[in-house]
């Protein structure tokens, strides 16, 4: 149920949704066994009734278009999208949500499906879990023993963007078995637990084990405080009118009719935006203001309405009259040099940034004299993260101080930016992230107008505000993976030595102009996009000479920004397809060619990587070992044939691909200027007299298990059992200390270190404290030492002499306390490496690519939580498959309008497209990571597209180097060769 556990407006009671007006219908329905007599307006959906009218937490919302399935509930035995049905039509129906699935708050009260989802890791962020649970429930009620195909068919209408499809099927099968036999089936490798409220094991030896999410109870029940389920007493809703033009100037805005709509509280636009908000530059040049007059992309906010309901706000939006002066946009990112300038630009047209080229040796000559010269042009489209949660914010003011709840993975950075945009001091903004958030994969990285304007409306109206983006708005406003064009020339001699490589990049940052601060520190987009691609080239392989050139351009299309893997995506696609072409060009086995050319000496140019000078490389062994292991698992030696060499049925061919991968993480925050300090690492731990260990960490949970990992590190280091470790799900800037954002794969290496250090300090305090009591038991402090494990303090080498931690601390008058506040060294940045291999089957008649087997091998240094690690690798691959095969945002070349801002036309992977995974690890510990671990969050996405493109070529002998490798492109490339 949606009562926030964090701060709420003083003196307020519960939120009450406005009484329906207009076409009102009386409805009698049963919800989770409780009869409700409701009065609703005809346009109210069941989801709106549940969450807004009844304060019911049983269904998340992902699209409001029956396209994602995460809001599914069961109506009269059938799974139905709760967004798609009108409550007014439900009289006499019986509705079951996840609330009705469990019988109480304990683990033992959970439905077998809930427990199986939690224990099998069938979710990461959990935003889709309620939908999957209810759909599975409807299935098992009809069919207690479904086959895999029946499960896939039944669940195919629900999407999971974290990529847990395979685990979801496993969890449903397990629950079905349990329900048929009455037995509880513990998953392989799981540790026994004793707690009634969590699945955390009764041991401190947890590093390297498979540990389910510490707060998983919130994801499998209605308890998780996903913001889309949350309300504030007295709140109003905001909605925004958006530009239909890619470039225009607002001439006038007439809001008279809109203001007359009953229930409208405020309408704000350029001409009545108050100071100081109106003059705050949010980015540029070209300068962008809150509700500024100059519109530079479709979807930019033109006016904001605050009203008693979203429907009323939409009614008002439709009545706002805007006169625009429509201007000529720049849409073609490959021809920006001749475009009309849109700001005082020292470069031609709308070129944003010419990255200083880097040259080593004599690449032009080398390319000219090489035995074989290949030229490879690759393009990658705009992609979007499609986080399944609709980005939501709650806002209220306490005098001049703002309190806000945000869907963010950058709790402290978001507070800093909000304060700057609102002209507030840092301590005037309190930002809470509840710990339950639909994972954003980078989309929530940039603070956008949509996050700031509701705060302004809350200030103006004096009311708490809720803002939820629609799915279309999410597509329009969040930062996307930028479009790229890359030309690679590679000269290779027949002995396999790469004589030279020349790389030329055009990166379309869209309307992303960078903040004034970052623009000053480093012009334009600070080269993150282009350099991210170069980085891959220089780290992975060796060349006798090299040349890198690139530009970043500005267009009136979409806004580019971070997305899993960022610039490494196009870089690896360009590099690994070039490597493949070069290998074929000299007639060498593509695997042998890669092993021949691995870069085993380290980074060449610090200015390319954007990392600090002198960065130790040190991942070389892992790279070779990963490639060799991946080749073994995909049976390269036995199965590889030259192109079109494996026809398995008429017109259907199999092919293999293998590529290297890498990613960076754990050091500097991605996108930060190269002289920026690394994020702070802080943590506090308290051992309470009742024996519970409390971890205070500002490490923001985004679904990948940050909070679980912090608890695990604390348990392992202190010796206190994990079931006695508590950590809040959420992060509150009013309570926690800054420990960096959860992006750029850095939390394990940043917050993890801090928890580790604080825990070490706490453990020595505990041991000191225990020494006296232990002396009474025969411990000789002069010649012996104490250690702690599994909740016992014991004498090293005489572990029968022991005392429980509970007994040691029982008489404390206050908790034992320790903290860490360290600034990590930039040399602690890690490079994660690995290799992916795939076997595909390609039908030349239909252009379809089917993944037969997928192998991912990663050198992770040390696996900390094997469940979360596997989930991250799998999830990265699933996201990569979507991008490789289907996903592209299409901006109309004539109008600049985004053609496909919905989950039907922007095609993310469903349950059906998840292949058989084989995930294997190489563990070469690195001393800069806690327990030797290195970053993994992003390394598994970039290799997917190149490994599939290479396997496609190997199968059918045609190249597709424009992503995605969709049916139309494959058929066009085959053109008659079928």
């Amino acid at each position: 149920m949606n009562d926030l556990t964090g701060p709420t407006p003083a003196g307020a009671t519960a939120y009450v949704h406005p009484a329906p007006t207009g076409d009102v219908h009386a409805v009698s329905v049963s919800i989770d066994g409780v009869r409700h007599e409701l009065s609703v307006e005809s346009r109210e959906s069941l989801w709106e009734t549940l969450v807004y009218r009844l304060g019911h937490g049983g269904a998340n919302l992902g699209c409001d278009r029956a396209q994602c399935g995460i809001c599914n509930v069961v109506i009269d035995g059938r799974s139905v999208n709760s967004c798609a049905v009108l409550t007014a039509r439900l009289s006499g129906k019986s509705i079951t949500t996840v609330t009705g699935l469990s019988s109480g708050p304990k683990v033992s009260d959970l439905h077998p499906l809930q427990r199986a989802f939690w224990e099998e890791g069938a979710f990461q962020c959990g935003i889709c879990t309620k939908g999957f649970l209810m759909t599975s429930h409807a299935l098992l009620e009809r069919n207690p023993d479904p086959t895999d195909d029946e499960i896939l068919a039944a669940l195919s209408g629900v999407l999971c963007r974290c990529g847990e499809q395979a685990r979801i099927v496993l969890a449903v099968k397990r629950a079905a078995l349990e329900m048929r036999t009455g037995a509880v089936v513990a998953p392989e490798g799981s540790l026994p637990h004793t707690s009634e409220t969590s699945l955390m094991p009764h041991t401190s030896e947890v590093i390297g084990a498979r540990i389910p999410r510490i707060h998983g109870m919130g994801s499998v029940t209605d308890e998780g405080q996903y913001l889309s389920l949350m309300t504030l007493p007295g709140m109003v809703f905001v909605r925004m009118l958006r530009s239909p033009y890619p470039r225009a100037r607002i001439v006038s805005v007439d809001t008279r009719a809109a203001e007359q709509v009953p229930g409208v509280v405020a309408v704000v636009h350029h001409f009545n935006m108050p100071e100081p908000y109106a003059s705050t530059v949010i980015e540029g040049p070209p300068y962008r203001y809150l509700l500024g007059r100059d519109l530079v992309q479709v979807g930019m906010p033109v006016a904001v309405v605050a009203a008693e309901s979203e429907h009323i706000a939409d009614d008002a939006l439709a009545l706002i009259e805007v006169e625009y002066e429509v201007l000529e946009p720049t849409l073609d990112y490959l021809n920006t040099a001749t475009a009309p300038p849109q700001w005082d630009n020292h470069l031609p047209g709308t070129i944003r940034n010419v990255i200083p080229p880097v040259v080593v040796g004599e690449p032009d000559q080398a390319l000219e004299h090489a035995d074989v010269l290949i030229e490879n042009v690759t393009t990658t489209p705009y992609e979007q993260h499609v986080p399944l949660e609709l980005r939501t914010g709650l806002y209220f003011w306490e005098g001049d101080n703002l309190v806000t709840y945000q869907t963010t993975h950058r709790t402290f950075d978001a507070r800093r930016e909000l304060a700057r945009w609102l002209n507030l001091e840092l301590d005037q903004v309190r930002l809470i992230q509840t710990g339950f958030m639909g994972s954003s994969y980078g989309s929530a990285d940039h603070l956008i107008e949509e996050v700031v304007l509701p705060a302004v409306l809350s200030k103006i109206t004096g009311r708490p505000v809720r803002s939820t983006l629609t799915r279309e708005e999410s597509f329009l406003t969040s930062a996307h993976r930028g479009r790229t064009w890359t030309k690679v020339k590679m000269g290779v001699n027949r002995d396999g030595v790469i004589q030279g490589v020349a790389v030329d990049v055009v990166y379309d940052g869209g309307t992303n102009a960078g903040t004034p601060a970052s623009a000053a520190a480093s012009p334009g987009l600070s080269g993150v996009g282009v350099r991210g691609g170069w980085y891959v080239f220089q780290i992975l392989y060796s060349y006798l000479s090299q040349k890198y050139e690139g530009i970043e351009v500005w267009t009136n299309s979409l806004r580019a920004g971070p997305m899993r893997g960022v610039g490494r995506m196009f870089g690896l696609f360009a590099l690994e397809t070039s490597m493949e072409k070069a290998a074929y060009g000299i007639g060498m086995d593509p695997l042998a060619f890669r092993l021949r050319n691995l870069n085993e000496t380290g980074a060449v140019f610090d200015e390319i990587s954007g990392t600090q000078p002198g960065l130790p490389f040190g991942r070389v062994g892992g790279q070779r070992a990963s490639l060799e292991r991946a080749a073994e698992l995909i049976e390269w030696a036995d199965l590889w044939r030259p192109p079109r060499g494996r026809e398995v049925r008429p017109g259907v061919f199999r092919g293999l691909g293998i590529v290297s991968t890498l990613d960076r993480g754990g050091g500097r925050q991605g996108g930060a200027p190269s002289d920026a300090p690394p994020p702070p690492s802080t943590a506090q731990v308290l051992l309470h007299p009742d024996g519970t260990l409390e971890v205070l960490s500002g490490s923001t949970e985004v679904g990948s298990g940050q909070r679980t990992l912090m608890a695990m590190i604390a348990a392992q280091v202190t010796g206190i059992t994990l079931d006695r470790v508590v950590i809040n799900p959420g992060v509150d800037t009013g309570i926690n200390t800054d420990t960096g954002p959860t992006n750029s794969s850095l939390q394990t290496n940043v917050s993890g270190w801090a928890v580790l250090e604080a825990s070490e300090l706490l453990k020595s305090a505990l041991v000191d404290h225990a020494a006296r009591a232990m002396t009474d038991l025969g411990f000789d402090p002069a010649h012996e030492a104490l250690d702690v494990r599994d909740g016992w303090v014991f004498v090293t080498d005489r572990d029968e002499v022991r005392c429980s931690v509970d007994d040691v601390v029982a008489n404390l008058s206050e908790p034992l306390h320790a903290e860490s506040d360290r600034r990590r060294k930039l040399t602690e940045e890690s490079v994660a490496v690995g290799a992916h291999a795939v076997e595909v089957e390609v039908d030349t008649a239909t252009g379809g690519i089917e993944i037969v087997r997928y192998v991912a091998v990663h050198d992770v240094g040390k696996a900390l939580n094997r469940m979360a690690l596997d989930q991250q690798v799998e999830g990265g691959i699933v996201m990569g498959i979507g991008g490789a095969l289907h996903e592209e945002l299409i901006v109309d070349e004539v109008t600049g309008i985004l053609v496909n801002p919905n989950i039907l036309d922007y095609k993310v992977p469903s349950l059906y497209e998840v292949p058989l995974f084989i995930v294997d690890l190489v563990e070469i510990p690195q001393d800069y990571g806690p327990f030797g671990a290195v970053a993994i969050g992003q390394a598994s996405t970039p290799p997917v597209a190149p490994v599939l493109a290479n396997a496609l070529y190997n199968a059918v002998g045609v190249w597709v180097t424009d992503l995605p490798l969709s049916r139309n492109r494959v058929l066009d490339a085959l053109g008659g060769r079928a």
């Binding site: 076409d23 005809s42 139905v80 209408g157 252009g847 109309d892 109008t895």
Partner: protein, 341 residues
Amino acid sequence: MKRFILRQPADLGDALGILHEQGLNARPLAGGTDIVVGVMRDQLVGKGMPYPGELVDLTTVPSLAGVRVDDGGCAIGATTTLVDIVEHADLARFWPMLVEAAAAVATPEIRSIATLGGNIHQRPRCWFFRNKDFDCIKKGGEVCYAVKGDNRYNAIVGGHLCYIVHPSDLAVALLALGANARVASKDAERVVAFDDYFVSPRENLQAETVLRPDEILTEVRVPYASPGTFHAFEKFNDKGLPTWDFAQVSVAVAAHVVDGVWQSGRIVLGGVAPVPYRATVVEEALDGKDIDGALVEACAAFRTVTRPMSHNDYKVDLAVVVLERAIRKALERPSTPTGES
């Protein structure tokens, strides 16, 4: 979503009376997965596409739902849900292709509320038409944005001024099965063969069927298969999945074949034209021929009637392949039972 008035008539007469009074201001409502969740929430309005002020809920009219099987064939009420079609034992036995087509629609969630009538009458697919920011010719604007834009999913045959594709999987099957529509208005009732039910943009830019604003589809009648008829439905979407997305190409085949020789039949394609498209050119190329020998050439004849746009040549290739597969699939199965069997 804008306000509307939800009418919940108790019988057919009431429903038709409202439509008679209101004309285009009132639109029939069945499952609502397209008109409410698609058209109205996405604000698809224009000069030629008024926003409905009232929705007339046909699911409150009991006589419009249900399946009847009798000597003449089956009669399926317009508000019968797709899941009720998929799970109906008699339909699966005598009209397996219809069940295959119903099972291929969207997701299980949508099939549990979407209806037969709604599936036939859902508005067409075209991402310019479906995007509120394009005031396209079908909505009453001036131009078809698909002509110069990314038209990879648009029509490859039969487009004229407007290049939508017909989205219904069931309509394709019904046309191949020689089904009829029973249509009612306040004062009259008529039966229209599905052969004559759908209209192209050339005939009417704003509507996709012959239905007048005051009429509704009440029932679909499907005859039994004649002896020796083979049926198959094949659907291909972007992901190559059995369901979820709309068809890039779908094909329904009803073939009367004796000793491997094509006697007569119907071959209908979905996803390629503004209407479910009957490929008579392929039927004629097969007429009286031994199918094994004639099939490849006959299916290739489909190319002669296509006029692909700038980005959708591939759909022609795909259509030819899916045609071949659907016909082969039909012949690999036993013939469909007739009413006497």
